[in-house]
Symmetry: C2
Subunit: 254 residues, 2 copies
């Protein structure tokens, strides 16, 4: 299955790149800064057509095209974000990803994050027992603590200091705001960030969380609980050391 | 002169890349998150040696090696940031720049920002009457307003809401925190960001401000005043439309 998914991602990426020079058709969704383009919709439709041909019984949980309410735990579910970082895609034409995850009865089996412009594919999970960066197997990153690295955050969450985000950020080497969950999650896999704290939808974290867990990196809600995959949720993905520090810190402050 | 400077930058970058696989010698400067590495110091020393051979009378204003107090307005001054984004350099091994600017009696003549890992060189200014992205002449970016683009900010400034940073951020499409002034300033030149608001030292903004002005993009202190090039200062670099909106906004709130 993983070979097929990788071929869909590369084919989808070629279509996305071919459309980068064209005028995008941009629409608003929930508000002024929540955008969707014709490329998001077409890319999801393209990936869904490949999935349907490959496995007609599979279900789809995806950001676009009204497929955002599928339960995660019934049979085989493909979780799709056709363009993660749509604002970056529209404004920068870079710093966006294509993401696909495969769940079987609620258990993550495979995750794929493709940074289209940098041509960096991260993929793996329990189904293959490994995580790969392009063709190279990834080792778990160093188990660094808060004071030893950079952390990614959602800016609204940081501004409102939800779950002590500002105090946590102050203990790190620095906070980065990239506008693309996929980039933050692959930064953790690569070891260039010690964590990512955000509040997002299932298709934003599904693929990354599967790969993180495969490398022994914790990914959960604020209290360590698993995510529901229904609607936007607060989550933390981090090294074990950072997760322990954040949870101890939260208890101390409550 | 520009040909020589470009050759120094490419040679310095080769040395930096050659050192990326090695263990860095990292020291703290003003605090826990203000780092300097052997590569910063060696790169500045290398560039200074080239400048001194080229123009023995030229003065140096640079981040490292105790050369950070030189006045900007006396003769020819080279302003150097050997590694802009040292934290990114240490933690990510990417997302950092080499920056050089040339001032003649206080007037910016040439600026150079080199994104080493992406191999993207931005350079130009009054001395050549143009700005180049690698070998291609850059046109001024579209004059977009606050609501039409992404803005870069320093996170501490954002957290403390200095000069209404949060309200300004809320009017944009989104705020990005990259940890490297050079990347924010070239994003404005490219048109992928509408502005950058920060509080930094002369070597962080000298090269970018020269290129921005060459393309008709305003760069100034909060009230529109020129910067002093002495110590850390608040500044705004933006499209004309955004600069007008921010200054009107500031007056309204005072």
């Amino acid at each position: 299955m993983e070979k097929e998914i990788i071929s869909w991602i590369y084919e989808a990426a070629e279509r996305v790149k071919a459309g980068l020079g064209d005028a995008l058709k941009v629409d608003q969704k929930s508000g002024r800064t929540d955008l969707v383009t014709n490329v998001d919709k077409e890319t999801q439709a393209f990936i869904v057509s490949k999935i349907t041909a490959f496995d007609p019984a599979a279900k789809i949980l995806g950001e676009e095209n009204g497929q955002d309410q599928t339960p995660i735990d019934q049979g085989r579910v493909f979780v799709i974000d056709p363009i993660d970082g749509t604002l970056n895609f529209v404004m920068q034409r870079e710093n966006f990803c294509i993401m696909i995850a495969v769940y079987e009865n609620g258990v993550g089996q495979l995750g794929f994050i493709y940074d289209v412009i940098r041509d960096e594919l991260f993929w793996g999970g329990p189904k293959v027992g490994k995580v790969f960066y392009n063709n190279e197997e990834l080792s778990p990153p160093e188990n660094r603590s808060l004071g030893e690295g950079l952390i990614g955050m959602n800016l609204a969450l940081y501004r409102k200091n939800i779950n002590h985000a500002q105090e946590i950020g102050n203990q790190t080497m620095g906070v980065r705001v990239l506008g693309c969950a996929g980039l933050d999650l692959i930064a953790i896999l690569k070891g260039t960030q010690i964590g990512y704290i955000s509040m997002l939808s299932p298709w934003d974290y599904a693929a990354g969380s599967i790969m993180m867990k495969q490398l022994g990196l914790p990914f959960s809600g604020a209290e360590g609980q698993p995510l529901s995959f229904q609607g936007r949720e607060f989550f933390i993905g981090a090294t074990s050391a950072v997760m322990n520090q954040i949870q101890a810190f939260d208890k101390e402050k409550h």
